[in-house]
């Protein structure tokens, strides 16, 4: 990998106390790791040794000193796709027809390719950004702001505060905190009130042959995040069964749903 590091910000002289610094320097995600490995091996996934990949991965985990479930899951997915590719190469199919399995495989392969390309784009552009940041570090903005002697000129930022407002602000700050560490409400959310089957029924009842709906529309009256998750699972299952088609223009666009045929 190219050297991406550049002199970072001083952080009130306390940068040494940042807890996660070291960890970040070591680890790149599965997609990034995979991309690095493919590039190192002249872009040939086929030649890539799965055992080598797994071994490299395990070494990374070792260095991280912890197993992140999400990272592991993602890695397994990527590795499985690669394994599938290798298997198909080793055991060529005899029949010419394309089965559903084949289609699913092609889809997965294309998805992996798209992600590799996307990942590479951002990685390449980040090298340029790093250079600009490095140049930007050479000049420093003034941050001193108002000095002691002009203190009386500063509009009081805490006009009209009461103890209760302060307490509320504190509680709000703590809630934000909980989210920042990834401990979100899902940890305390009650069990879903809807089954996947009934969610499927409800999705289908919203669709007719003429018009579709968006996932957001369908989830509009759901109160619990858990219920949204259930509806999403139902959505995935309906796609798998070929009952509906979904379409999303880009990551943040609504998921459009319509009946198949």
């Amino acid at each position: 990998m190219s050297a991406l590091s550049f002199p970072g910000l001083s952080w009130g002289g306390e940068s040494k106390t940042l807890p996660f610094e070291v960890k970040l320097d070591i680890y790149e995600g599965p997609i990034g790791l995979l991309l690095s490995l493919i590039q190192a091996k002249s872009l040939d996934v086929y030649q890539l040794s799965i055992t080598q990949l797994v071994q490299d991965y395990l070494e990374e985990i070792e260095r991280m000193n912890s197993l992140d479930l999400e990272v592991a899951t993602e890695f397994i997915l990527v590795a499985a796709t690669l394994l599938d590719i290798k298997c198909r190469k080793l055991f060529p199919r005899t029949d010419d027809g394309e089965s559903d399995d084949d289609l699913a495989f092609f889809e997965e392969r294309d998805l992996l390719l798209a992600r590799l390309l996307e990942c590479k784009t951002y990685r390449d552009v980040s090298v340029v950004l790093a250079k600009s940041l490095e140049r930007g570090m050479l000049r420093r903005p003034r941050t001193a702001g108002f000095d002691e002697h002009v203190r009386h000129l500063i509009a009081d930022p805490l006009d009209k505060i009461f103890p209760s407002i302060l307490a509320k602000a504190y509680m709000k700050a703590l809630e934000l905190k909980g989210e920042a560490t990834g401990l979100t409400e899902t940890h305390v959310t009650p069990l879903p009130r809807i089954s996947v089957q009934s969610a499927k029924d409800r999705i289908l009842s919203r669709l007719d042959s003429n018009s579709g709906a968006t996932f957001d529309d369908i989830c509009l009256d759901l109160e619990l995040r858990m219920d949204v998750v259930v509806f999403f699972l139902a959505l995935l299952d309906l796609v798998r069964q070929g009952i509906i088609n979904v379409n999303q223009k880009s990551l943040r666009d609504p998921i459009e749903i319509e009946l198949s045929l």
Binding site: F20, Y46, V125, L129
Partner: protein, 190 residues
């Protein structure tokens, strides 16, 4: 032109206490003079600061102006602030920053999806460093918090606005690379 207080001096007094870039509009309102007069004064100030005996200059970011130490004196400034290079941004952090810069506003989970790895901690670090900031919530289901880059990020890049970011299309992998990747993933047809 006011005869008692020179516009340049008013601008200097304001920029000295500013901690963020100040727009011509704000300068004009606070100084009580027309925007063109502020603009003229800014040009004169820029000329004045070009003197090599001057250690700082004006920087323009996101339509605002702010004082900067000149980059020629970087070594002195960093010696003064006792900086060490041990707070480097990692490749992971830079990659994350790039994704946020181009896709903002974007949620933690969307970044994680693109990178293929949980990016919460990297994003927390970037927020604490002041490069990104939460800007509100998506209004879809689940309503996750969205993040965007800060003016400081643009400032560090020396850019006026997000439009000045390098075009992403210039960085799309070349056809050869895309093909090579695809071939390597393609199943043998025979």
């Amino acid at each position: 032109m006011s005869d008692d207080a020179p516009v340049e001096a008013i601008i200097e007094a304001i920029l000295l206490v500013a901690t963020e870039p100040v727009s011509v509009e704000v300068l004009s309102r606070v100084a009580g003079v027309k925007k063109v007069d502020i603009e003229d004064a800014l040009v004169r100030l820029e000329q004045k600061y070009q003197d090599p005996k001057c250690g700082f200059g004006l920087g323009k970011v996101q339509d605002g102006f702010r004082y900067y130490s000149k980059s020629e004196f970087y070594s002195y400034v960093s010696a003064f602030s006792n900086e060490t290079n041990d707070s480097k941004l990692s490749g992971a952090a830079l990659e994350t920053l790039a994704i946020i810069a181009y896709q903002q506003p974007i949620s933690r989970s969307s970044v994680s999806i693109i990178r293929g790895v949980n990016s919460d901690q990297v994003m927390r670090l970037l927020a604490i460093k002041g490069y990104i900031i939460p800007v509100g919530r998506a209004n879809g289901p689940g309503s996750s918090q969205l993040f965007a880059t800060t003016p400081m990020f643009l400032e560090r890049l020396g850019l006026n606005s997000l439009d000045d970011l390098p075009k992403l299309t210039d960085f799309a992998p070349s056809l050869e690379i895309a093909e090579a990747l695809e071939i390597s993933l393609r199943q043998d047809q025979n």
